[in-house]
């Protein structure tokens, strides 16, 4: 690490980028899929595909209340999650002592739906946050993200032509084209990349640096939350009293929280004199992920208390959480996050390719051939192989029988098994072949996904489009788009000329 500032930044960018990128690609790509967590979960539970929407919000609340009165008349609390733009089902849950039960209902009929056990889209979230590796995984992801931040900053320093080459992409020129693509995907999404990497680390600060919490709250990790989110609960009086119809709390609740803003209802001590009904505001129309609430007396209907003001430090922290999670702004914003995430994935993948493109040409000179060939081989499984594992996870979801015990664990095991197999395949096969074979496999699995969906009980794509069920059709359509992109990549790879060294070696071996 000698020489000028720029040179040391170039060193940092190259080597810091390399060691973290194999993991970072997986983290960023899984994070990109996590934007559509709910849609993926819905797709992965075909039992829910034919659920019909309720006639109105009031009707949905009545349905839920009827169900709870019948199934949990003595529960300590009820919770109702209303269907929204992304959640098609009506969610009811109740708590008896310490035991929590959750059922999903068809909003129109009120009949319980029994979806298969699956982590669904949450698998990608879980992998993105901690690689399914608990606290250690969280630290590994945070370390990789710090490398990402360092790579972004050093990348800005060493890219001297940010504005001159702002719109530059020159395809068909080997290494030059990869560098252009790397620069464009980085520069054009720079605000997003900085924001997502920075918030990615900071929102986990309480787990990463537990001292921040311990300094003030000793050994109570729930302390910060208890300080910010006010507790409205009161004990049951053990004296029966009729509960007002739950839909009657919507109008007074929304007078305080905003029209059409109810996301769910929490009922404490139903059927008791001390019953309370809490109207909970939905989170998806502002960046800060905080839930405003208004709580009413369940018997008389009078307003007891509300929380619409927040501690400003907590509000700022929840804004960082919200802007990272992208649960706001509707489908326009989800798609923009998705596209930016794909550009970020492309940035990392092209960075990895550049490392080997640059060095394999000069390998005879430097004599570091073995290491660079290893990098070139690892790149295949780390990028194409990860994408293959992601689509394999969708197949595992439908091919493992719906009633099989512990199927959700098996699905995730198959995701990791596919990735491991792809990494091994990439290390064993010559990279040119490995790229083509893994991309071809990805293309096949993606393009056949709508067919698999139809054959295993999902809502067929044409019907989903006709019925405007975009949460379901969207997954099939995105899979098709990825499939076509992979086909294009395979086609471009097979059109490419053989590397010159190979031809030379072959020419030398041939008798003249």
């Amino acid at each position: 690490m000698k020489g000028s500032f720029t040179q040391s930044m170039a060193w940092l960018h190259t080597w810091g980028g390399l060691v973290a990128s194999w993991l970072l690609f997986a983290i960023v790509f899984a994070g990109t899929l996590s934007v559509f967590e709910f849609e993926i979960t819905r797709w992965m539970q075909p039992e829910t595909h034919r659920a019909q929407p309720a006639a109105s919000r009031e009707a949905a609340i009545q349905t839920a209340e009827r169900y709870l009165r019948e199934h949990a008349p003595a529960a300590g609390s009820w919770m109702i999650g209303l269907p929204g733009a992304r959640e098609a089902l009506l969610e009811v849950s109740w708590r008896d002592g310490r035991q929590q039960t959750q059922h999903l209902l068809d909003p129109a009929s009120g009949v319980q739906v029994h979806p298969r056990a699956t982590e669904g889209g949450h698998h990608f979230v879980h992998f993105h946050v901690e690689l399914h590796g608990g606290r250690i995984g969280l630290f590994v992801v945070a370390a990789a993200t710090l490398f990402m931040l360092a790579a972004i900053i050093s990348g800005i320093v060493i890219h001297k032509r940010i504005f001159k080459d702002f719109f530059t992409f020159r395809p068909g020129k080997g290494q030059r084209s990869w560098l252009d693509a790397h620069n464009a995907s980085g520069v054009l999404t720079l605000p997003f990349l900085l924001m997502i990497a920075y918030t990615g680390v900071t929102i986990s600060v309480m787990q990463l640096v537990p001292a921040t919490v311990q300094a003030r709250y000793a050994d109570n990790p729930r302390g910060p939350r208890a300080d910010v989110v006010r507790d409205f609960s009161r004990p049951a009086a053990r004296q029966a009293a009729p509960l007002l119809p739950l839909e009657s709390f919507i109008a007074p609740g929304e007078a305080l929280l905003g029209a059409g803003s109810t996301g769910g209802l929490l009922v404490r001590n139903p059927g008791d004199v001390a019953a309370q009904v809490e109207v909970i505001r939905r989170l998806d129309d502002r960046i800060a992920a905080v839930g405003d609430r208004a709580v009413f007396d369940g018997v008389s209907g009078t307003l007891l208390d509300q929380q619409t003001e927040w501690n400003s430090a907590a509000y700022f922290y929840r804004s960082l959480v919200g802007i990272h999670l992208a649960r706001f702004g509707g489908y326009a914003l989800y798609w923009l996050y998705f596209i930016s995430g794909l550009a970020g994935s492309a940035l990392i993948a092209t960075g990895l390719l550049l490392f080997t493109e640059k060095r394999l040409k000069a390998r005879d000179v430097t004599g570091e051939g073995r290491f660079h060939r290893f990098v070139a081989r690892l790149n295949v499984g780390a990028t194409a192989g990860l994408m293959l594992a992601c689509i394999a996870y969708f197949w595992a979801n439908r091919l493992i029988p719906a009633a099989r015990a512990e199927r959700e664990t098996l699905e995730i095991a198959l995701f990791f098994a596919s990735w491991a197999a792809a990494l091994l395949h990439g290390l064993l096969r010559p990279p040119r072949h490995a790229w083509r074979e893994q991309l071809a496999a990805t293309a096949a699995l993606c393009l056949l996904l709508p067919l698999l969906n139809t054959l295993t009980g999902g809502l067929p794509l044409p019907q989903a489009i006709a019925e405007e069920q975009w949460t379901i059709a969207g997954v099939d359509l995105v899979a098709l788009a990825f499939g076509f992109a992979a086909v294009c990549a395979v086609w471009m790879l097979s059109r490419e000329r053989k590397p010159r060294t190979l031809r030379r070696r072959r020419a030398a071996a041939e008798p003249t």
Binding site: K164, F166, F167, T168, F169, R170, P171, A184, S185, L188, T189, P191, F192, D285, R286, I287, I323, F328, G329, G330, A332, L333, L336, Y337, I339, S340, A343
Partner: protein, 118 residues
């Protein structure tokens, strides 16, 4: 809101295309000659105005914080589209920008008219 978002995307794309053409290298790629300094400046001003209009359209039925996040996302998406389409279909990329001004402009004019009246 969805129409306004499409119009915002259209003007983000128009703005990026104008800024791209204001650079002599890309202008030369497009029509064979570098732009005159006056033309270059005009394209730059037009581009900046289109991007500003795009931001304005993002505010339609959005709180300001979400509108700004949305605008940054649209800028990225529009620029990515332009940059990766440019070497393959330059003429179509510019024509697309010109054509998208029609529906985009119509939506913007309609929103302006509505907000002035109401």
């Amino acid at each position: 809101m969805i129409l306004a978002t499409f119009a915002a995307l259209a003007f983000a794309y128009v703005g990026m295309t104008a800024l791209c053409l204001a650079m002599s290298r890309h202008h030369r790629e497009w029509c064979g000659a570098a732009p005159s300094p006056r033309r270059s400046r005009a394209l730059r001003i037009a581009g900046a105005m289109a991007l500003a209009l795009s931001l304005l359209l993002c505010f339609e039925q959005r709180v300001w914080s979400i509108a700004i996040v949305c605008w940054f996302g649209l800028l990225s998406a529009a620029a990515l589209l332009l940059v990766f389409a440019w070497p393959y279909a330059m003429k179509a990329a510019v024509r697309g920008a010109l054509l998208s001004m029609l529906p985009g402009g119509a939506i913007a004019a309609r929103l302006l008219f509505d907000s002035l009246r109401g």
